[in-house]
């Protein structure tokens, strides 16, 4: 059996173990509630969001629905992968796996892809269902580029959270630390980042709370590049009209690439040097 076949089989094994786990059965209703549920709500013709906003196109509705990805799917990816390495390490199985004639980079890449696709497949399906719901409610389809951008953005943000959790899992000696790190990172970027942005704005002398202040918008746009959720929304915003936070699409995709490559490299390096 060649290396690629071995790699594919191990990846599929990780994927199926996670996809058909009890954990996934528990998380699926949450995902359904957060993704198609939000799409249903935001596509209501009478909906009025805070600030008097009323989404007028399918792309806009899906942009607001992306909150379901930020709050639900990212947390599920943390919960799915927090013990990706630490469980095997605690049980002694990692020692057996490390003793197999399969390169460590292949093992770590199989872990990443297996865990990533385990959360990506149901999320993508629900994301596609959301498009159908929006079409049904509003009679509007987004353009193919909008659809592609949103699917890629969803895939990327889930990859980042899976990578954070696996890195934590590979460093933690026990699973409590690993889950604390994963949830902590999720909490920081999902809730606390707004606070970080506000504090930096205050320290920079930029008045806070003025939504139309170009300085505030510019600072928020730059600081969002340092948060996976921020980059995710930047990517989705590239398909919205009338939104310009001063970050060029090229820089944005480059930052998205860095958010993917650096943690992935870190995880591969960690798995190369890990001790059972």
């Amino acid at each position: 059996m060649n290396d690629f076949k071995k790699f594919s089989k191990v990846t599929m094994r990780h994927l199926s173990q996670r996809l058909f786990s009890t954990r996934m059965a528990i998380m699926l209703p949450i995902l359904i509630l957060f993704i198609p549920g939000m799409a249903w709500g935001f596509s209501d013709p009478k909906v009025l969001l805070p600030g008097g906003i009323s989404p007028s196109s399918a792309t806009e509705v899906m942009f607001y629905t992306s909150l379901g990805i930020v709050f639900g799917a990212t947390m599920c990816s943390v919960l799915l992968s927090f013990d990706g390495v630490s469980k095997d390490r605690a049980s002694g199985l990692l020692e057996i796996k490390l003793a197999q004639p399969m390169p460590r980079t292949h093992q770590s890449t199989a872990l990443v892809i297996g865990h990533w696709f385990a959360i990506l497949i149901p999320t993508w399906i629900l994301w596609a269902v959301s498009f159908v719901i929006v079409k049904h409610r509003m009679g509007d389809w987004p353009s193919i580029v909008d659809v592609l951008t949103s699917f890629i953005s969803v895939a990327l943000i889930l990859l980042w959270y899976v990578l954070f959790s696996l890195i934590a899992s590979s460093h933690a000696k026990e699973q409590g630390t690993s889950i604390a790190f994963g949830v902590g990172v999720w909490f920081l970027f999902t809730f606390l980042w707004a606070l970080v942005t506000t504090m930096i704005a205050f320290a920079s002398g930029i008045s806070i709370g003025e939504e139309n202040n170009p300085k505030w918008i510019g600072l928020e746009g730059v600081l969002d590049l340092f948060s996976p959720n921020g980059v995710f929304h930047h990517l989705l915003e590239t398909r919205l009209n009338d939104v310009d936070r001063g970050v060029s699409p090229l820089v944005l995709w480059l930052v998205a690439l860095l958010w993917s490559v650096i943690p992935w490299y870190w995880f591969n390096y960690r798995m190369k040097t890990i001790q059972p």
């Binding site: 049980s91 199985l93 020692e95 796996k97 003793a99 004639p101 093992q107």
Partner: protein, 342 residues
């Protein structure tokens, strides 16, 4: 002597221990490990790797399994396809070695067969799973979930993972832990059969007595150093632990010096109420006859087994009090002075 299949030359590996300081918050220092180990593994040979807790047995096993990379020295072995000794990478090592770690806590609802298939796929030998399950006696429970396995079954499953891929060298780290006597005997029989087929086996244990009948040679490890390697007889002879007899009897402790004269020397004697016990070093088989003739009441006459503590005390020149629990807490080496790093 059979051909050498693995030759470890001056191998050094030291664990890195976290040692934070103000200037270096993520600083590390070198800790315990193994030092300049030279070890030859021969085809079809069963080698017992013995040493107390913290001696470096597991570290050495993990190096041989290709899990830890050595920091100095070299490992020569026959590759998966070649028949000549040559320096070998960790990846190549992993392809010729089957490793059974100490105590794997198999758990979950996944079946035995599926679990073994997971590992087999990493080796690319999924087709061998049924045969291996039969070999270790798990085929009847191949569909049972891991949570339902007894300790002995779990050990067998761990052994099965080591046997995947027809390894040339089998590493077994404390394999008899948790096994009942019947399972131990079956396990030993399996190992003997494998050795006859040319598989070299290294068994690590902190008990010598449990495996002297099984192993061809012993290697004594202490504080990361290989103190001696050879057959049990050679080791006993070198450390003057051979020809020892344990005699026990009733009544008062006899005056042995008078009975046995200079033919034997008394190494240890103990007596309690109406019972006594001595260990003598004897070269002459007529000693028993002399003792019986002198009407000494003997209840036990047996060769004294060598235990690991005696070997280490003899090798290091230290007594038990000096060695004690220090084997774990100290990395200082009593036997050889390396003159570096410490």
């Amino acid at each position: 002597m059979s051909e050498v299949v693995l030759d470890m030359r001056d191998a050094v590996f030291r664990h890195q221990i976290s040692s934070p300081s103000l200037s270096k918050p993520f600083g590390k220092r070198l800790g315990s490990g193994i030092f300049s180990i030279n070890l030859k593994v021969r085809k079809g040979q069963i080698l017992g790797l013995v040493g107390p807790n913290g001696a470096g047995k597991t570290t050495l096993m993990r190096i041989l399994a290709g899990i830890f990379p050595i920091q100095k020295g070299e490992i020569f072995a026959h590759g998966a396809k070649s028949n000549e000794l040559s320096p070998i990478s960790e990846m190549e090592l992993r392809s010729i070695v089957g490793h059974m770690p100490e105590q794997v806590r198999w758990q979950g609802r996944v079946s035995v067969k599926r679990t073994l298939q997971d590992i087999a796929e990493m080796r690319g030998v999924a087709y061998r799973v049924d045969g291996i399950l039969r070999m270790v006696g798990l085929s009847e429970i191949e569909n049972s979930p891991l949570d339902h396995l007894s300790q002995g079954m779990r050990q067998r499953l761990t052994l099965a993972t080591a046997l995947l891929g027809s390894p040339k060298i089998l590493l077994l780290d404390e394999p008899f832990n948790g096994l009942d006597p019947i399972a131990i005997r079956a396990f030993e029989k399996l190992l003997e059969d494998l050795a006859k087929k040319g598989v070299s086996i290294i068994i690590s244990s902190h008990r010598v007595a449990g495996m002297v009948h099984l192993v061809d040679r012993l290697a004594l490890l202490h504080r990361g150093q290989l103190l001696i390697e050879g057959t049990l007889k050679e080791i006993e002879s070198k450390f003057e632990l051979d020809n020892r007899i344990q005699i026990e009897g009733t009544g008062d402790l006899p005056e042995f010096e008078k009975v046995i004269g200079t033919e034997a020397s008394i190494l240890e004697s103990k007596s309690t109420e109406q019972r006594w016990s001595v260990i003598i070093r004897n070269q002459d088989d007529s000693l028993l006859h002399k003792l019986v003739s002198s009407k000494t009441e003997i209840t036990t006459w047996k060769p004294k087994d060598t235990d690991i503590v005696e070997m280490i005390c003899s090798a290091t020149g230290q007594d038990l009090d000096e060695i004690g629990f220090g084997v774990i807490s100290s990395t200082m080496m009593p036997y050889k002075n390396r003159g570096e790093e410490e």
